[in-house]
Symmetry: C2
Amino acid sequence: MDFHHRGYQSADPRVQPAAGYGVNRSLEVPDEVDVFIAGAGPAGVLLAAQLSWFPDLNVRIIERRPQRLQIGQADGIQARSVETFEAFGFADEIIGEAYQITETAFWKPNPGNPAEIVRATRTPDDVADLSEYPHLVVNQARVLDYFIEAGRRAPGRVEPDYGIEFLGLDIDRTETYPVLVHLRHTSGAEQGKEFTVRAKYVVGGDGARSSVRKALGHQLRGDAAMHAWGVLDVVATTDFPDIRLKSIIQSHDGGNILLIPREGGYLFRVYVDLGETPDGDDGKIRLTPVDEIIAQANSILSPYSIDVKAVAWSSVYEVAHRLTDGFDDVPEKERDSKTPRVFIMGDACHTHSAKAGQGMNTSMQDGFNLGWKLGHVLTGRAGEELLRTYGDERLVTSQNLIDFDKAWSTLMATPADELTDPAAVESFYVQGAEFSNGFKTEYTPSLVTSDTTHQALATGYPVGRRFRSAKTIRRSDSNVVHLGHLQTADGRWRIHAFADADHTLLGAFGAWLGESPESPVVKYTRPGGDDDEFFDVKVIYPDVYRDLDPATVPKVFTPWKAPYGLVDTNKVFGQGEVDKQKVDIFAERGIGPDGAVVIVRPDQYVAAVFPLTGTKELAAFFDGVLRTAAR
Amino acid sequence: MDFHHRGYQSADPRVQPAAGYGVNRSLEVPDEVDVFIAGAGPAGVLLAAQLSWFPDLNVRIIERRPQRLQIGQADGIQARSVETFEAFGFADEIIGEAYQITETAFWKPNPGNPAEIVRATRTPDDVADLSEYPHLVVNQARVLDYFIEAGRRAPGRVEPDYGIEFLGLDIDRTETYPVLVHLRHTSGAEQGKEFTVRAKYVVGGDGARSSVRKALGHQLRGDAAMHAWGVLDVVATTDFPDIRLKSIIQSHDGGNILLIPREGGYLFRVYVDLGETPDGDDGKIRLTPVDEIIAQANSILSPYSIDVKAVAWSSVYEVAHRLTDGFDDVPEKERDSKTPRVFIMGDACHTHSAKAGQGMNTSMQDGFNLGWKLGHVLTGRAGEELLRTYGDERLVTSQNLIDFDKAWSTLMATPADELTDPAAVESFYVQGAEFSNGFKTEYTPSLVTSDTTHQALATGYPVGRRFRSAKTIRRSDSNVVHLGHLQTADGRWRIHAFADADHTLLGAFGAWLGESPESPVVKYTRPGGDDDEFFDVKVIYPDVYRDLDPATVPKVFTPWKAPYGLVDTNKVFGQGEVDKQKVDIFAERGIGPDGAVVIVRPDQYVAAVFPLTGTKELAAFFDGVLRTAAR
């Protein structure tokens, strides 16, 4: 963390000084706002926390519930989400309270006695070493708590206004605030009272039955039939030995359970598959009593059993694999002439089966994708066309995910004795790890993602995929640090210069980046603030960290900080060994003796890889997306 | 963390449910209290946080300051203190904001040009791998913040009452509340108003000029002469390349600087040695202007310099190595007939040079030593004689530390050209690592520390020293966990049973511990609560964790929890490999095929090592210190 550079502050450094609309944040929702978010679910609170880093924007987020969520349906946290939590400053805290998945147990009918289950195998969770972060389980309510706290700690101090529901909207593009939002108080002294707010942009994160989606005339399309699940969050005594392991349990008659241990050491979740809802069921399956679900679970678990002592939460719910026909308000045929004003994200756009644990995780990435783009456009950093890339990028991702999810659910629902390959479930699970952990997203070339012409220079940073962290050694203080953990979700771009062997190319690149009128750092950094107010520029040398001479480092890597003119010496990195840890990020990420430039978007995706000599291409890339604008 | 076993709670699990005096904690200091703590410094806030785990005790802590500390003198955090933070639940959080020391640079006069300094060497900080935790630097104000938060999160909700100063006390042992404390409001509406509180026990953590110590008639004894230091906390620009490394800098004329980088990336502290205060100086040295200290620092740093942009804090202070002649109110000659009612801790007992960074760290261990003992005695768990061990244990520790500190300070103050061994400073520093990191404390046999008869059974757990954590694998969920990180500072004793190779001895020991009327767990656990309300009993098997059959584990290791009768399955551990981590705690901590029992005190010190067959000795040990008492 970077602090005290504006003088000593005796305070929790995780709390940023308030600025802009965060200084005296109005208690009432104002009549006009820059961004209006409907729904304080996972996507909504992330978006709010992200926009809280743009304190000059007036951002509000409403939620129909009268207060914070007490308990929610989602609980699986992919490693990609934990990386995202890191960017919002709370990865370590939430890891501390979550259940950590290290292995999955697979149980099947005992071939000798198919009425009983036996453990077939255990599979490590992250075989492929996809992330330095673990796969977690923790209730959605706590995820929301942490994002809301992150929003409160960021300069804009954005946090939810509870007890307000979204009714509808009208768009008039001739207005400065083109979207008129109709709202109603659902609780409190003004319960029932309707009012309106004008917004520059509106975002709906209001769930599968999204009113914002309906207002846009979009529909969820996909499976006709719904699939039903009985879900229990319980504490129980049991003789089932894997009660604290994620377990996939298939009985001989096609019944199956997904068992998810939960945070705290006692609570666990059981998903009992109730199959496809028959035509004309009309919600009757949702009336299945808890006792019946418990009985069904016990039948599948035989010869083991659970003796439920308390039910924290239970639900029978139906879900289908469905995808919206649009992520924003601009119809396909008008995409060239109009840019979007209203967006939807999360369950409003895509619904999944429960078992793949994708819903909350994907929703958060929707919010992360959209947040910085809104921030850029509204602060004049980029043109409105940037906002088209949100739907373009997330649509493909959502479709891929649904395809994966369907294959997985179908396989899970197949009775064990009908599978041609008896290990089909385990194989699919292991092969799908990259998908199920959230790392299969790969954005294709666009305004904000370059092509892969220079990919060979940095094979470990695939363009369009999330920046995979690796350790390096900071020259200033000899600390081993994860490069990816220095990417606070503050809306800035990151430029990583990996030096060539003798620093010749690096020297020329550093001089150009710091001084050339063509350099994005020179063109797009607003005067009067820190040198790194918009571009976080770092250099990583292949040299042993102790051998680096700070006097030879180009000035662009040691930025000047307002108001005291201090110099940030913490952006220069090397290799070697400290504290018995051997570090060589060049080998780990496939960077050769000529070095490379790796550009990372504010949502942690690799935007581009360029050679150190590729200044023209680099300048052209940023000129394609950024705008110069007065402060 | 252990939660949801009393049913689902939608809340931050770090916040314990309030109990006892924590439920409706009175805003006013009551007339009668169980423990009265004067001074909310490092020792005081730790003690308050510890006693907040005894919510049936009425505990108050006062502080003369009208509000939280803004900036404090101390900043060095030994790894032992970070282990302690872990027990209070905030190690990871404070690590996240602190500066982490990995190396120390030694600078000396350039032999070719003695007026200029050159870097002689760099030394890794934790060569001996003394702890899994790092050595930190963070302002004392933040350490206090975290302990105060820990006290607020614990069941008793103990937190400081600011703006009250201690005036004096009277002891009348015939009273139920034998200590009458005289107090005065120093701020607020009642400023100047005096009042009294009656307490069962009083603890003074009120600094080097302690009024509680004076009230007891004790004095600090030791060096006659004071040593003066100029200290600056500044932000600056500089060409000194090691400005972000802990640096020990000696110039040719005996001038020396200790440079401590501080949290946040910019702030650093410079200690300039001003030498022994001449006789009759009478505080004049404390008037040395800041500019003069900066000039002196620049002279020592030549050919480098610092250009100070802002001074966060500066001070010239004088300190001597001194030690109190008593840690409590009972004179040596009355120790057999009386037990103490008033204690002092921290700087009230011992003062150190600034450079060894011992003051705050040692003070916290004073508080940690005393807290659980007061808790035990006041809840009827132990007799009052337990309280004698506080002074006995901490006196020896303090004396050893002062001896170390004096040797170090003397060496540091010796001009480089007068040293017979030119590497004397580095050598002493490295050899003294165990001392300077806080791990040299070794309590000798007493009521609460056994002898070393059976030390050979567990050579990695030296009796009387702090329990050194190591990794093990939890059977229930296949998580790699640090055994030492399961020792929340909740006032409980820990019994670790390391199983023998074929589990025969373990089986007999487990049965005895769970069922024998001689077993401390049977005798001293109060009925009506959790089985592990007072003894946290764990078993560690030498077997591969996957091979462990939970059905064969003795019941004492799977305790029953109120109110649902749930069973805690998370106290059974094995070895093996998970997530590419190989774990073998038996090899790492020197435990052989016959296993061992390792008893750990509530302050994380190893109280005893016994064989699995040593039930009589184990029973006798606990009978020596504990009392049965009605709930």
